[in-house]
């Protein structure tokens, strides 16, 4: 149990480092999306400026590009929903295990 805990912590630190190091070392990089980089390659290969034949639904609804702040809001919303569900169930599991352990101890006595 203790061993698992330290393993988890080490793994999380490695994961965080992989994400942070490029940010610190590559100064002045743009960090645009690689999904967008894909569209540049499309233009490159077809030789012409590729014109998408459909626009995202949201952009037709609001009649323009989604403002950056709103986009990050929606991304946060997505993360929030996910984390909420994960944390809720994880919390339940942790509490349940605790209770079971306590009961087992009682039986032993």
């Amino acid at each position: 149990m203790k061993k698992t805990k330290s393993k988890v912590i080490i793994l999380l630190i490695i994961a965080a480092l992989i994400a942070i190091i490029p940010l610190l070392t590559l100064k002045g990089a743009e960090f645009g999306g690689s999904d967008d980089a894909g569209s540049k390659v499309v233009s490159e290969i077809t030789g012409t400026d590729y014109k998408p034949w459909a626009t995202p639904v949201m952009e037709t609804w609001i009649g323009g590009e989604l403002p950056g702040e709103i986009e990050s809001l929606l991304f946060c919303l997505q993360t929030g929903i996910g984390v909420g569900v994960l944390a809720f169930f994880m919390g339940r599991f942790v509490e349940r295990t605790k209770k079971e352990n306590q009961e087992n101890k009682k039986h032993e006595r």
């Binding site: 149990m1 698992t4 393993k7 988890v8 793994l11 999380l12 490695i14 994961a15 992989i18 994400a19 942070i20 490029p22 940010l23 590559l26 990089a29 743009e30 960090f31 645009g32 999306g33 690689s34 999904d35 967008d36 980089a37 894909g38 569209s39 390659v41 499309v42 490159e44 290969i45 077809t46 030789g47 590729y50 998408p52 034949w53 459909a54 626009t55 995202p56 639904v57 949201m58 590009e65 989604l66 986009e71 929606l74 991304f75 919303l77 997505q78 993360t79 929903i81 996910g82 984390v83 909420g84 569900v85 994960l86 169930f89 994880m90 339940r92 599991f93 942790v94 349940r96 295990t97």
Partner: protein, 250 residues
């Protein structure tokens, strides 16, 4: 799987073969409107049998054991979180992970297609990320091809008696990378390069995606291992119910 379910899957596969195979034509999130209509439809149709199989497989998991819904919800939530995090990478651009590895390892590849498509629809409608027209292609790469490889590698590692966590790590990260490979191929098929054809075009797209995705794939592998460790510690009975701890077929 009972007779009726078998029949439905069979019909769906037949449907896909009829419509899908015609010209072999066929990206991670391909942008809205970036895939010719023909390709959109073909990929969409190819996804249908997988989605049907996924639906039935999920239903079966839930009907055999009602309690496993918590683990299903958590795998779905994991995809939600992981695929919303844009992480800076060595190439100076950002990308995000797929998160589909966890579900694939726990429930098998087909169930993830349902969880994946929910996330993709959410992102396509609200975030202008991916798109409704390219939904079929995106579903195929992220929710079908990636998980299939993940599941395959996980099972292979189990057979070869590789350490369980190493196996999970490899499965999740290679599955993530493979998702982007499929995306590159899908884009290449739609936009073959004039000089080198499809292969040259695929190499070009891969050159954009692969270096960015490699470190992210490693992170995804690590996170998947961490969450499985957590579940093993606290939710042993649920994992045993879905046949994960026994290493049984599921």
């Amino acid at each position: 799987m009972n007779q009726k379910e078998r029949k439905i899957i069979f019909i769906a596969i037949a449907f896909a073969i009829i419509f899908g195979v015609t010209p072999v034509a066929n990206a991670m999130h391909i942008m809205e409107g970036y895939l010719p209509l023909k390709f959109c439809i073909i990929w969409g149709v190819i996804c249908i049998p997988f989605l049907v199989a996924g639906y039935l497989s999920l239903k079966r998991t839930l009907s055999t054991n009602r309690r496993s819904i918590t683990i299903v919800a958590m795998s779905g939530a994991f995809i939600f979180v992981i695929s919303s995090l844009k992480i800076p990478s060595v190439t100076g651009s950002c990308s995000h992970m797929t998160g589909t590895g966890l579900g694939a390892i726990l429930f098998g590849a087909s169930s993830v297609s349902i969880l994946g498509i929910i996330v993709l629809i959410f992102q396509a409608i609200l975030l202008a990320h991916g798109g409704l027209t390219s939904l079929g292609a995106n579903t195929f790469s992220m929710a079908i091809a990636g998980p299939l490889i993940t599941y395959g590698i996980y099972k292979l590692c189990q057979k070869l008696k590789v350490n369980k966590y190493v196996g999970i790590f490899l499965a999740a990260s290679i599955g993530d990378l493979f998702t982007y490979c499929v995306t590159s191929i899908q884009l290449a098929l739609a936009y073959p390069s004039q000089s080198g054809g499809i292969a040259a075009s695929a190499a070009k797209f891969l050159a954009v995606f692969a270096p960015t995705q490699l470190p992210l794939a490693i992170i995804e592998g690590i996170l998947t291992v961490v969450i499985i460790m957590g579940l093993e510690t606290y939710a042993k009975s649920e994992l045993a119910d879905i046949g994960f701890l026994k290493g049984g077929e599921n």
